[in-house]
Amino acid sequence: MTADEAPLMFAPGDLARLDSDALYLELDGWEGPLDLLLDLARRQKVDLRQISILALVDQYLTYIERAGAMRLELAADYLVMAAWLAYLKSAMLLPKAEQEDPSPEELALRLQLRLQRLGAMREAAARLMARDRIGRDVFVRGAPEGLRTDRKTVWRSDIFAVIQAYGQVKSRTAPRIYHVANRPVMTLDSALERVSAMLGVTLEWMEIRDFLPPHASPELKRSALASSFVAALELAKRGRAELDQDGAFAPLRVRRLKEGAAQGPGA
């Protein structure tokens, strides 16, 4: 029992204080009814397992009665406990006959078990506080140098990575030359000329395929087809030709419009 615990341990003579004015001071030290009960139990100087709950209840009620007489603002907790203990007391005094479910014995036992547990913890706390404590009884190194860990990075790479990186830099930044292939094409102008000339020959429908140069390479043929189609559209727009197609992807046919019917914006 060190000085720390003094306020919570009661000397043998404490009982006398029950009747004195010190009552309120003690109430300050207690946190609640269980506290007070435990203290009263301790004063019986018996093992909590042997304690007479009835005697304890009597003491508590007496205590509260006196405290109440002297000072009214007794905490509600204390009064609730007093009421509950009064009930417990009467139940314990009544014949055992037909008691309600939690029997008074059980309630008393429960109270006793709780006091035992609180008592055990209070004692444990006192023993804990009385141990050799760092900063009071034992001391750690006053001025430790401290340990430091400096992290150092070791870089790793390899020659291939370096060479590869250089190759990538060079290839990324090298000036690039773009070649535009010179493909055989038929321009729109020449297609227009060609289609106009060929349309002048007849008034019959002609398939657009027939306008293409017969011996052209496949590439030139595709270009010619596109240009001839656009040329045909242009002529239609000018009112010099008409187009006809039975359906999607069906052969596209072109025919010259008669001169008189031409209402286009003029060539």
Binding site: D35, E106, R110, L118, M121, A125, R133, R136, V138, G146
Partner: protein, 205 residues
């Protein structure tokens, strides 16, 4: 390790000694092993054992607290070393009790603490203990409401000179007496069995 009687401490023993002297806080075996450049923990442990016994007779002791090792002054010299200024935190009685309840029952919820003490625990009381680094939040209890549960820390063991929680004063006796079991369990045991029975099976510690 140089064998023989004590005499010359081995290189590793000296290294562990120097490291623990210089360390600002207790170190685990693993931390020591890592700091010393990846020594096998077993060897570190051997060095610690040798040091521990060497320092047993000295004014400074090597102690293990919650798996961490540090040097501290011998407790029998306390009367010579006590400082004028009180360095130890003074705890209120409430805080003392709460600390004990947490230490002996951990992990424990606030409601459980309150059921033992019979009064509400103010938040301030737990704060003081948390701030001292003696308790920590140890998760939540998987019951309705998922209350926060508390447990002690290595710092707590350190401060109170406990090697582990098993060193808590009287914990074995308290457990054997069923005084660490909840009241409900104890009640059930008491109603069902002989009161002398130790209520061991309901043990939840």
């Amino acid at each position: 390790m140089s064998g023989g009687h004590e005499g010359e401490p081995g290189t590793l023993e000296r290294a562990v000694e120097a490291t623990l002297f210089a360390a600002e806080e207790p170190l685990t075996v693993d931390a020591l092993a890592a700091h010393l450049g990846g020594i096998a923990p077993g060897e570190v442990r051997d060095a610690l054992t040798a040091l521990e016994s060497h320092y047993l007779r000295r004014g400074v002791h090597l102690v293990e607290r919650g798996g961490r090792w540090h040097f501290e002054t011998a407790s029998d010299l306390a009367h010579l070393l006590r400082r004028e200024k009180e360095q130890v935190r003074r705890l209120s009685r409430a805080a003392t009790e709460v600390l004990a309840i947490i230490a002996y029952h951990e992990p424990v919820s606030r409601a459980e603490i309150e059921s033992i003490r019979g009064v509400q625990t103010s938040a301030g009381t737990l704060d003081v203990l948390l701030e001292a680094g003696w308790i920590r939040l140890a998760g939540r209890r998987e019951v309705p409401g998922r209350p926060v549960i508390y447990a002690t820390t290595p710092t707590f063991l350190d401060h109170f000179g406990l090697t582990s929680r098993r060193d808590l004063p009287g914990i074995d006796e308290l457990r054997a007496a069923g005084l660490l079991d909840p009241v409900d369990d104890a009640l059930e045991n008491a109603m069902r069995f002989d009161p002398d029975d130790e209520g061991e099976e309901g043990d939840s510690a």
